[in-house]
Symmetry: C3
Subunit: 340 residues, 3 copies
């Protein structure tokens, strides 16, 4: 599809500086801009590229003042990043095919209901007594067990597995291969050295606008619910154990693991490969760095924790910089001992 710069400016509420009748047909990174493409400049680190880019146009913020001559055309908006995101969204809604209807064969138990405007892909499965809202998309090979509720406009991607009794809110997106509601890892030791499985009778409850990444696993509660609140964003290959609660708008990056019964507050940011042991409380607004291990409650909001056993980021980095010089430090101690 092609659009003129004037059309794009009108769409994102900007004004053209240059030839508004020129047409663009693709979105480019500014450093890889090609004729017919449109880019954006938000981060000043990339300013140098705007003078050399071959993109037909670049979206810039109104604060941008060129310091050299430009070959490209500009679309000036209040905030270039937001303008570009709006353009992206519009573009996405045009190119992302709107799947609807039923592909056969698919399986849908007759005790279950689904709202209008749905998509049920081939080989998708919906068990008994499910209540599925409007405009829900269930991609091929997805499995929805019994007694599951899914809110309006939620997307269940290919091969997602949702166990019985799970409740999923509105406008969620669950990516391919994620498993929601598998048994919690609960085993009671028996005297003969074996373990007995503790029945896992709870469920998973997911709020609205939650995003869950590919192949992530969220276990059901032993009793009660594992709770993922509104607006939580979870990346790929994350493990959420039984009875965990994740507060609103918390973001969890890939390969992080959260052990049983831990409560994570609201608006936390947890980077990749972090690990949090069980039965902890992490206060709202906590930032946990990549690969960080958390073994104690976090009670003061606004901290950034980092390290193998996490503590204050800056202090960790200071200690680690000395760790790197430990051989030298040891030599200095030897030297002192010799002198004394």
């Amino acid at each position: 599809m092609e659009f003129t710069l004037n059309q794009i400016a009108s769409l994102i509420g900007g004004k053209v500086e240059g030839d508004g009748s020129l047409k663009v047909s693709h979105l480019d990174k500014i450093q890889e801009g090609l004729p017919g493409g449109i880019s954006f400049l938000s981060n000043e680190k990339y300013e140098t590229y705007i003078y050399s880019t071959e993109a037909t146009a670049v979206i810039v913020s109104e604060t941008f003042k060129p310091t050299k001559p430009l070959k490209t055309n500009l679309i000036i908006v209040k905030n270039a990043y937001e303008g570009f995101t709006l353009l992206l969204e519009t573009y996405a809604s045009i190119i992302k095919s709107e799947k609807t209807g039923i592909e056969e064969p698919s399986y849908f138990d007759k005790s279950s209901t689904i709202g209008n405007n749905f998509y049920r892909g081939a080989f998708s499965y919906v068990g008994k007594n499910c209540e599925i809202g409007e405009s829900v998309k269930i991609y091929p090979n997805a499995f929805i067990g019994d007694n599951v509720k899914i809110g309006d406009e939620t997307i269940i991607h290919a091969g997602v597995k949702v166990y019985n009794d799970t409740i999923i809110g509105k406008k969620c997106e669950i990516h391919a291969g994620a498993v929601i509601g598998g048994d919690g890892f609960g085993f009671a030791p028996v005297e003969d050295g074996t373990y007995k499985a503790i029945p896992q009778l709870g469920n998973v409850v997911i709020g609205d606008k939650v995003s869950i990444g590919s192949n992530t696993t969220i276990d059901c509660a032993t009793m009660g619910s594992t709770v993922i609140n509104n607006g939580v964003k979870i990346d790929n290959l994350v493990q959420i154990a039984h009875n965990v609660t994740i507060g609103e708008n918390t973001v969890i990056a890939s390969q992080t693991g959260i052990s049983g019964s831990t409560e994570i507050g609201k608006n936390c940011v947890i980077a990749g490969q972090a690990g949090i042991v069980g039965h902890l409380k992490i206060v709202d607004g906590t930032t946990i760095g990549a690969k960080t291990g958390i073994i104690k409650n976090v009670t003061n909001s606004g901290q950034t924790l980092f390290g193998y056993i996490g503590f204050d980021l800056k202090e960790f980095l200071k200690s680690y910089s000395i760790f790197k010089k430990l051989p030298e430090l040891q030599d200095r101690i030897k030297e002192l001992e010799k002198k004394l």
Copy 2:
């Protein structure tokens, strides 16, 4: 479903203190007990809740002596935790729907056999020459390759993938999305900088009463077998590489990885996100902490190892506490140097 306290007491071999004719219909945590609910008190940390809980009844051990007046009714058993687990199990066996029969379409090669009382979900696949025991449940979208053997009463959850030649014992439970028997990661370097795949001709052999978590991956052996012995419990997103052996009743928590040809003993406990390099032997009864890296054989039974490169837990914690104070230590050395 509703049960009277007398019925429950009789089921778990206890006696009622209070009104045995009262009815309960749900299982609650003691701190969240509601009228019509039954809880248990096992860990004394929670004793305070028994005086305020609104649960209709609480299961307690015979050693429990209330120190304040109680509003709730008691069911007294020898061991409250065991009593409650028994109740859980009974409850689970009632509410967990017993799937049986065939949902269509499903695929079952006619050269394969399956015992009585099975469940084969829609879109489940069973390849050639498989021998599947009695009362096996194969959930929707599960894939069983060729020449696979599965013992009685094993449950294969939705979307599990089992490669050719795998052998699975009795009473196992394999959770959704797990992959059993994928190729080991074996590549031989070639002079031109590329790698050539080494054919992976072995299989995976899984004992009885093994539990495998969601999206866990267990690779087949290059030759011979990757072996998961009886009673092993493996959590979600765990990686078990080719030719690994896991001893009986060993427990492995989420996101741990075990590299090729390593032998883990019996009755080990391995916490989450641990990593064990290849070709090691870990003796029976070893405990490995979360995020711990193991790069050497463990030969003395009963150790608890912890750390980035794991060593004795207590020693690691001592060293780590000094690591946190390294800036101070460095200052003290500077001070000493100045004085001399």
Copy 3:
């Protein structure tokens, strides 16, 4: 199947020392060799086993000179390991069943095309406008979205999920449960504390002879492509984020995570559970140890990096050996302070 030693010698270009008419039917490790089996001796660490093995024959390099009497027969080749690998490959091509044809039901949109000699398993799904080459195998329950291209002789195992617009080269093998092309983890913070999803409009482009492990996830680019170049080998449960580039013949072991927009060079080796933050460049020929965190560009080729925040392997090990002795070091400082 049985072969005589003479047949095997002729296959792998070797000569028999012993009875060439003897028959073997299985491949054994030398330390587990049984009558009727054939083993190989490549690593001298295992030489001791050749004098006691019960294997009928052992493949040895021409440089091998027995120092004790042998009970087994020898097949002598230039390089025992290569000879055995050749035997493995031949054996594999015989025993690994060549699946072809269509199993029903399966789903294949009529706008898509596929070359000759294909396999499409039951419950496999191919969406719109796909172009699939010759001799491609698509196993049961695999999902291929719209506009996907797959090169000749590529194998897509059971339950793999390939999102729209992905391009996969020739002779690739993608193991069960892997997810290719899921949305990148891109969310823009909004003033009210929530996050807005940034549309992920790019794709994944995979070169030739790439191997991808079970349940690995590779996200699509925000714009442009996430690129996995020719000959890359990726193990199980690896996370590759949006806009990452992996150079030719780089090997990535299990559970490693690579964050957004990072570029990994050619011929790198990345061990298990490593983590690399976003927007970095890692030069060709870099080795990154297990569990290592990389937070800076790597610009000098040939380095081996290791550690929680990775630096030179040998230096890390030196520092870590002193870390273990920190309590002693602290005591020595106290002692010095006392003396002064």
